[in-house]
């Protein structure tokens, strides 16, 4: 049908709609237009904008066969209490069919403090596992073959230290660094903007990140050196377009920093990975994933002149949206997570964490985690969604929305460029403010009823308080302190002091790559707090400025 014919038919349809509306008014607050037609995507050139899986601009996916060869990696984020407890949970997950590990660290670890630091009081082992030194890391991966498993670590400001510990555990297991597979989050910019576990100011933080890029390209070539994360930006309240815009702007900043430090774009870009949120609106999320691949491919080719195909491919991990889980009627969350899983799979994710139904209340129980993992397995093996690549391509709606999200995101990226890039935009508070405004609008929409959350502002029931939640043993802090003091009494303290002094000197010399120094310190069982303490002395600490 020609466009003219479609236009004429559309006008007839609109006349019918007008009649129907007179009798049956539509629901209020529907954000989307009523219907999409070929007219909404007439500007799209198939070869330039959509193309084929594994072919630039990768709108349809980064591999030619996607899940027909192998499903996404089912990677459940876990960790709590001590290394012993978390090791048990990891082995349970591997036995249940999880295909990758994902480590959650407690807040003192994420901010570079030991368990016996006064500031750690009350936080040890709460939101993740407490790691003070290589000794804990050895226990965490006990009986887990680092040559076989791939491990993702949600660690940012002290990412270099945890990566060094992982390399050192590999050495002890007899697995050389060039065989290690995994990811460190290592994305400091979104910590300033949305997640909050920063330590150092932006400049030394960016140096640490480029040091890791350079070190891993030579020594740990299968390691994903960064997971540039929109997940937490979305959790903090952003829209879908803001999520990918701010994150890709961060990605641009990392590339610029690495190139400025003398690295060739193709030497590190293939190891960059991304981390997206799978939110409630299924089709919007699919469009977002597709748009993000297309934007990144264009950025890498046109802006950074990457040559290798791998450098232009946006590979991503996904986690279902924690902020969309409700404390009310928690079993409903199983359904939300299933829909979010469908979105992630139809959007072509490389790996996925599914949240558990009880996570608006506490850390998940083993039973709840099992349901979440089974949700992925049901989508993979039973739903048919993984059989055909990019199954929503060609939908007038999804293609039009992919274009729209790309356009909206590019406008933000342009605005951030005009401010001098992501680091400047964050320092000015611009990104934070945009996220806060969206979060506030969401909350007001829920409170006015413009947005319905089942069980929260509609269909509420009287409920008994939930039973059987996971509790982290209150004595974990004391246990962890005792272990730390025992370890410190046994180690060669002169060797620790020597490696820490060397690290400190290297910190002061911008031309040094810090990774070998950190690795040396880690091998002597210098603690995370000691290593970060030395870096704090030289680099100082970041001070956030908040405006409401």
């Amino acid at each position: 049908m020609s466009n003219e014919k479609i236009q004429a038919e559309l006008e007839k349809y609109e006349a019918n709609v007008a009649k129907a509306l007179a009798k049956f008014p539509e629901r209020k607050n529907i954000p989307e237009q009523r219907l999409y037609t070929p007219l909404d995507i007439q500007g799209d050139d198939y070869a330039d904008e959509i193309s084929f899986p594994g072919v630039y601009p990768y709108t349809r996916g980064v591999q030619p066969t996607m899940y027909r060869g192998r499903f996404w990696t089912m990677r459940m984020y876990a960790g709590f209490s001590t290394a012993e407890e978390s090791n048990k949970r990891y082995r349970y997950l591997i036995e249940s069919g999880a295909t990758g590990l994902s480590c959650a660290f407690d807040l003192p670890t994420q901010i570079g403090y030991d368990s016996d630091d006064p500031i750690s009081e009350g936080e040890v082992g709460k939101v993740g596992v407490a790691i003070d030194s290589l000794a804990d890391m050895e226990v965490l991966f006990d009986k887990i073959d680092l040559g076989k498993v791939s491990t993702s670590m949600t660690i940012n400001a002290p990412a270099s230290v945890l990566l060094a510990m992982y390399i050192a555990v590999g050495e002890k297991q007899g697995v050389p660094a060039d065989q290690l597979k995994g990811t460190i989050q290592n994305d400091i910019l979104k910590e300033y903007a949305a997640r909050g576990t920063y330590i150092f100011p932006p400049r030394p933080s960016m140096r640490l990140i480029t040091n890791i890029f350079a070190y891993c390209s030579k020594n740990v070539p299968k390691w994903n050196t960064i997971s540039i994360s929109g997940y937490h930006i979305r959790e903090a309240g952003s829209t879908a377009a803001q999520e990918i815009a701010f994150t890709i702007a961060d990605g641009i900043a990392y590339c610029e920093a690495a190139i400025k430090a003398g690295l060739d774009v193709d030497s590190f870009a293939g190891r960059l990975s991304f981390f997206w949120n799978a939110h409630n609106n299924v089709l919007e999320e699919v469009a977002k994933f597709r748009a993000s691949r297309r934007i990144w491919a264009k950025v890498m080719k046109e802006r950074f002149h990457a040559q290798k195909a791998k450098s232009m491919m946006l590979r991503f991990h996904t986690q279902t949206a924690g902020s969309m889980l409700t404390a009310q009627q928690p079993n409903n969350n199983i359904v939300r997570v299933a829909l979010q899983t469908a979105a992630a799979v139809m959007g072509g994710t490389q790996s996925l964490h599914t949240n558990s139904r009880d996570e608006a209340l506490a850390l998940p129980t083993a039973e709840a985690v099992m349901i979440a993992l089974r949700t992925q397995q049901i989508v993979a093996y039973e739903s048919g969604l993984a059989d055909v690549i990019d199954p929503l391509a060609g939908s007038y709606y999804v293609e039009a929305m992919t274009d729209r999200i790309e356009k909206e995101a590019m406008e933000y990226i342009q605005k951030i460029d005009d401010m001098g890039g992501a680091v400047d935009a964050i320092e000015k508070g611009y990104i934070q403010k945009e996220i806060q405004d969206s979060a506030y609008k969401w909350q007001m929409d829920v409170e006015s009823g413009a947005k319905t959350i089942v069980g929260v502002n509609k269909f509420q029931i009287e409920e008994e308080p939930p039973k059987g939640l996971l509790r982290v043993d209150a004595s974990v802090g004391e246990k962890q302190k005792a272990k730390l003091h025992e370890m410190k009494a046994k180690r060669d303290n002169a060797a620790v002091q020597k490696t820490l002094a060397d690290l400190k000197a290297a910190c002061a010399d911008e031309n040094e790559n810090l990774m070998p120094y950190i690795l040396n310190a880690v091998r002597t069982y210098a603690t995370l707090g000691e290593i970060c303490g030395v870096m704090r002395q030289v680099f100082g600490e970041y001070e956030a400025h908040v405006s409401l």
């Binding site: 994420q110 009350g122 936080e123 909050g196 903090a236 979060a439 506030y440 909350q443 409401l548």
Partner: protein, 130 residues
């Protein structure tokens, strides 16, 4: 009331999740209160000091890390220790129901859990502030 109600919104502990704290801060401001937000990673001592410096009627804390049994009571003790007997102290975050009685016994006037409309917090403050 002649004098506007002054509220300190605070994030004790190390967790960086302040979406809730910021949304509540803004909703309280829109409701006509004067609001000061401390920012992240405040020790109980810093919060008590800020409460006194800012001469607030209300301290509203948010924790999502599970450190509330340790940190909330500590803030109450320190604020009371500064002679602020009438200061209303409330909390919110990912807090299991079963923890709430102990927090109330320690002097937290009310605990607001996920899904609470901001209007409910506004009403509570208006009804209970001294």
């Amino acid at each position: 009331m002649d004098k506007r109600i002054r509220v300190l919104v605070a994030k004790p502990g190390l967790d960086g999740h302040d979406r809730g704290a910021k949304v509540v801060a803004r909703a309280l401001r829109d409701a006509g209160f004067e609001v000061v937000y401390t920012g992240l990673r405040q020790t109980p001592e810093q919060i008590a000091e800020a409460a006194m410096q800012e001469d607030v009627n209300v301290v509203a804390m948010s924790i999502l890390s599970g450190a509330h049994p340790h940190l909330f009571p500590k803030v109450v003790d320190l604020v009371r220790g500064k002679g602020m007997k009438d200061c209303l102290i409330i909390g919110g975050g990912v807090i299991p129901e079963s923890d709430i009685p102990a927090l109330k016994a320690a002097g937290i006037a009310e605990v607001f859990t996920p899904g609470t409309p901001t209007g409910k917090i506004v009403e509570f403050i208006k009804a209970n502030v001294k």
